[in-house]
């Protein structure tokens, strides 16, 4: 299913048609109410704010009255997620995480109709054809066939345009090449150089053996079954997983020696021998089993429950083997579950879970002071909000080469670059200022190496499909076609972004449908699409197709 490709003549005709719509078309529908686009404040997210301004500028040319409503992030989330019928449009972002290197989470969760009421499908998109494709890719075992289904799903979304995709941001990270052997710093697809494999393999060149990284904000919590974006960097190093997502974005066995599908609903994992927790106790099969049972307590661990919800049973089926029985086939199981669930010591967590079982307290809110895992780094201290420190765990079967991993909170972004320059930090893990400044720094200081990566995440305009005129795919397509992604990437993201066409990032070429991109910026085509769908322009204002009344009061 593809969008119509208008000819030059038809475009000109369309542009003239909308402009020449009779001023008082007797059969025109009601005038479309003033629409509201929610955006974060310029100070918080200048790119998103600028993107909203650029979109509104084009949509006004189509005859729409659009105003921006600037809200702080938490208020924006509150309105968009919790009051699903009370907004028109909103700028939004889906962030890149290693487990999103499998397309299932975003493909299924964002648009499956079963999640429209309370789940991730916050725009209220419902299409049985899409549901069928999303379910089929989830069940398909053959990777090639699954990729074809995922691409088909992207093309359905291209046609229906529930989102106006804008860009895949390009994130810059940097490190000090006088401290770290450049060949051991690796880039993970869609994630960048701040990844598990870099932290595991980074080889110090001299006396400085501590990796000192930055974060603009402190962690909220460190927990094996509760994750915030920054905390996940840390817990990923403390806790091991049966599998891990490799630098190409594919799941590979890790704490498991091997993992295989026995049948579409059975997975068998052979566990590595001789693993130890940081308290020197051995990692047993009971620990592995319990690690997957803990997040199954859905009222106690709500955040991680979806990752294990499809597991029917976990059995110890051999001296070193555990067998997972699934409720339904799930092709993303290796990435979304086996690479995600942390291996925890049963002797630590079972008493906690038992104690909290009869209370209102959530396990995911319980603060474990010792944070004992079996990962390559062990927890040393969390001096909130100043720093978190981990140390190499020599008892690990693949110990890291660096000695200590220290994450410093540095809210001042300009100071972060100064610190990188004078070696107070030696790894720039995140930079929320102008990426051009990092490029400049690298030019001045040859020891600073910058790596820029296209993100797994994406930026978009969400339209509330529960509210007209956004319930009309033709209207949504016209809005999308009017917005130039090239200008968006260049002007709003200062060139550090790639035009986006789907929820599967271009950073994942195996899954990404190249044809999904609407480059946009074609106002004449947008006007023609509106005319073809019956919209008319009267008194400079866009009206619904004939017979359609405005059902919602503006504001």
């Amino acid at each position: 299913m593809t969008l119509p490709q208008p000819t030059r003549r038809s475009l000109l005709g369309g542009a003239l048609a909308l402009a020449a719509t009779p001023a008082h078309a007797a059969d025109a529908g009601d005038a479309i109410r003033p629409l509201v686009l929610i955006s974060k404040p310029q100070a918080t997210d200048p790119a998103q704010y600028q993107a909203a301004q650029l979109c509104m500028q084009e949509w006004r040319k189509l005859g729409l009255k659009v105003t921006a409503q600037v809200l702080p992030a938490t208020q924006q989330s509150s309105l968009v997620w919790l009051s699903r019928t009370k907004w028109d449009m909103s700028t939004w972002e889906m962030v890149g995480r290693p487990e999103r290197s499998d397309p299932d989470e975003l493909t299924y969760s964002l648009f499956h109709s079963s999640l429209a009421e309370n789940g991730y499908d916050f725009v209220g998109y419902k299409n049985p054809e899409y549901d069928r494709l999303a379910e089929a890719q989830r069940a398909e075992e053959d990777r090639e066939k699954r990729a074809a289904l995922v691409k088909q799903a992207q093309m359905v979304i291209k046609n229906d345009q529930p989102y106006i995709y804008l860009v895949y941001p390009r994130r810059s990270m940097a490190f000090n090449a006088e401290v770290w052997d450049q060949s051991t710093i690796v880039e993970e697809a869609g994630i960048g150089i701040r990844n598990f494999w870099t932290f595991l393999n980074a080889k110090p060149l001299g006396a400085q053996k501590d990796m000192v990284l930055n974060s603009p904000q402190p962690l909220s919590y460190l927990h094996p079954v509760h994750m915030d974006p920054i905390g996940s960097w840390v817990s990923d190093l403390i806790y091991d997983h049966l599998m891990r997502v490799d630098v190409k974005g594919d799941p590979v066995p890790w704490a498991a020696e091997s993992v295989r599908w026995v049948d579409p609903v059975t997975v068998e994992a052979v566990i590595r021998d001789g693993m130890k927790f940081h308290d020197d106790t051995p990692v047993t099969l009971e620990d592995i089993q319990y690690s997957f049972q803990l997040p199954q307590m859905k009222d106690k661990t709500p955040q991680f429950y979806p990752n294990v919800a499809n597991i029917a049973s976990i059995d110890i089926s051999g001296p070193r083997t555990v067998t997972f029985k699934l409720k339904a086939p799930q092709s993303s199981f290796f990435t979304s579950t086996l690479s995600k669930i942390a291996i925890v010591p049963k002797h630590v967590w079972k008493p906690i879970a038992d104690q909290l079982a009869t209370t209102n307290e959530l396990i995911e809110n319980h603060k474990d002071e010792k944070l004992i895992g079996s990962g390559p780094f062990k927890f040393v201290h969390w001096r909130d909000p100043e720093e978190v420190m981990l140390a190499r765990f020599d008892g690990h079967w693949t110990p890291p080469k660096l000695e200590r991993w220290i994450l410093r909170t540095v809210p001042n972004q300009e100071a972060t670059l100064g610190m990188l320059r004078n070696n107070e930090i030696n790894f720039l893990a995140i930079f929320t200022g102008d990426p051009q400044n990092i490029a400049e720094l690298a030019k001045q200081e040859p020891k600073i190496k910058v790596v820029t990566t296209t993100d797994l995440g994406f930026q978009f305009i969400a339209m509330n499909l529960r509210r007209p005129p956004f319930d009309d795919p033709a209207f949504r397509r016209a809005l999308s076609v009017s917005v130039s992604r090239k200008i968006m990437a260049a002007a709003a993201w200062n060139g550090f972004a790639e035009p986006a066409g789907s929820c599967v990032s271009a950073a994942l070429p195996f899954w990404h449908a190249d044809d999904s991109l609407i480059m946009g910026g074609d106002l004449a085509a947008a006007k023609k699409m509106l005319v073809d769908a019956g919209y008319t322009l009267s008194g400079g204002q866009l009206h619904y197709p004939p017979g359609r009344k405005e059902e919602i009061t503006a504001g």
Partner: protein, 324 residues
């Protein structure tokens, strides 16, 4: 000041604290947006969201929430942070020493410098020293704190490499106790730039205040008498005039301590200083009601209590005030 007056002043202070507490409680609840938006994952079921609301007491009627809040407050509990899931009091108390050390060090430097410089400027009125120093003092008062902080960072940290650019201690530094950390050389090195920035910003008030007081005092008869007695100029300025001109400066210092505790948001952000101001910013931006209320309350309490202390000290130092 009589004990009756002191009691009355304390009563007023408690009343104001109650008003501030009540206002803070209702103001935060009037803010748009649910605090749970920052916490709730959209994959949670409605039932799971209800469990969370219940756990944080947000399913109770507003007045019940207020009553529980005040009851907990009287018992010394400020509630549990939505974001960090820890008692608010312990989060704030962990940040308070850093803020107090930064504030008190800066005030000490600012008021020591300001008092001496103010006295000197009054004594050298009409000289080149006044012509140069006075505009400089006014300029430092007008400078934005973040700009001044960034300039000092650029010079002393990024260019000369003499001082660290952020944090309260070096990466990975360990200490046997909190006290050992606060008195360590490492901590003091990290304290220099933020406290110097804040001191430069704060010194304008004591300098100008001291100068104008001194100019008044130097006209008093006892100063003339001291000159007639043949005392040295240094002795007249420092031992006689300055001591009498200090009273308003002491009051300003007390109020300065109160207001500076909450006024360090910018300095703490520029220098990544782990103090109360940064906690306040995080709490407000994350709609963490209990933490934000607690932080504002602590800041307001410091201001109100230091006002009360200033009143009492002033009355003790100058009995004429109490008699009025």
């Amino acid at each position: 000041m009589s004990s009756k007056s002191i009691l009355s002043r304390l009563g007023q202070t408690i009343f104001i604290l109650w008003v501030v507490t009540t206002l803070l409680f209702f103001l935060f609840r009037m803010m748009p947006g649910s605090p749970l938006a920052a916490y709730i994952d959209p994959t949670m079921t409605a039932e799971q969201q209800t469990i969370l609301l219940h756990q944080f007491g947000l399913d109770q009627p507003l007045w019940t929430q207020y009553w529980l809040y005040m009851l907990n407050m009287v018992q010394g509990s400020l509630g549990t942070s939505f974001i960090y899931k820890e008692p608010v009091a312990s989060i704030l108390l962990a940040a308070l020493p850093n803020t107090l050390l930064l504030t008190l060090t800066s005030l000490l430097i600012a008021y020591a410098f300001g008092t001496l410089m103010g006295a000197l400027l009054a004594a050298r009125r009409g000289t080149w020293l006044e012509a140069v120093t006075l505009p400089a003092v006014l300029a430092t008062r007008a400078l934005p704190e973040f700009w001044l902080g960034m300039v000092l960072l650029a010079v002393f940290s990024f260019s000369l490499g003499l001082l660290p650019a952020g944090g309260a201690t070096s990466p990975g530094a360990s200490f046997p106790s909190a006290f050992a950390r606060y008195v360590s050389l490492d901590y003091l090195r990290h304290l220099i730039l933020p406290s110097l920035t804040l001191a430069i910003f704060l010194q304008g008030l004591p300098t100008l205040l001291m100068r104008s007081n001194m100019l008044e005092v130097l006209q008093e008869e006892f100063v003339v008498m001291a000159r007639i007695k043949g005392l040295s100029e240094w002795s007249i300025i420092m031992r006689h005039a300055a001591r009498n001109a200090l009273l308003p400066v002491a009051t300003a210092l007390a109020l300065g301590i109160g207001s500076s505790i909450g006024g360090n948001v910018v300095i703490e952000s520029v220098f990544s200083w782990p103090g109360l101001g940064r906690r306040l910013v995080e709490a407000v931006s994350g709609s963490d009601y209990p933490l934000a209320q607690g932080a504002f309350l602590m800041i307001a309490a410091a201001q109100i209590i230091m006002n009360c202390v200033a009143d009492i000290v002033y009355s003790t130092l100058d009995p004429r005030v109490a008699r009025r």
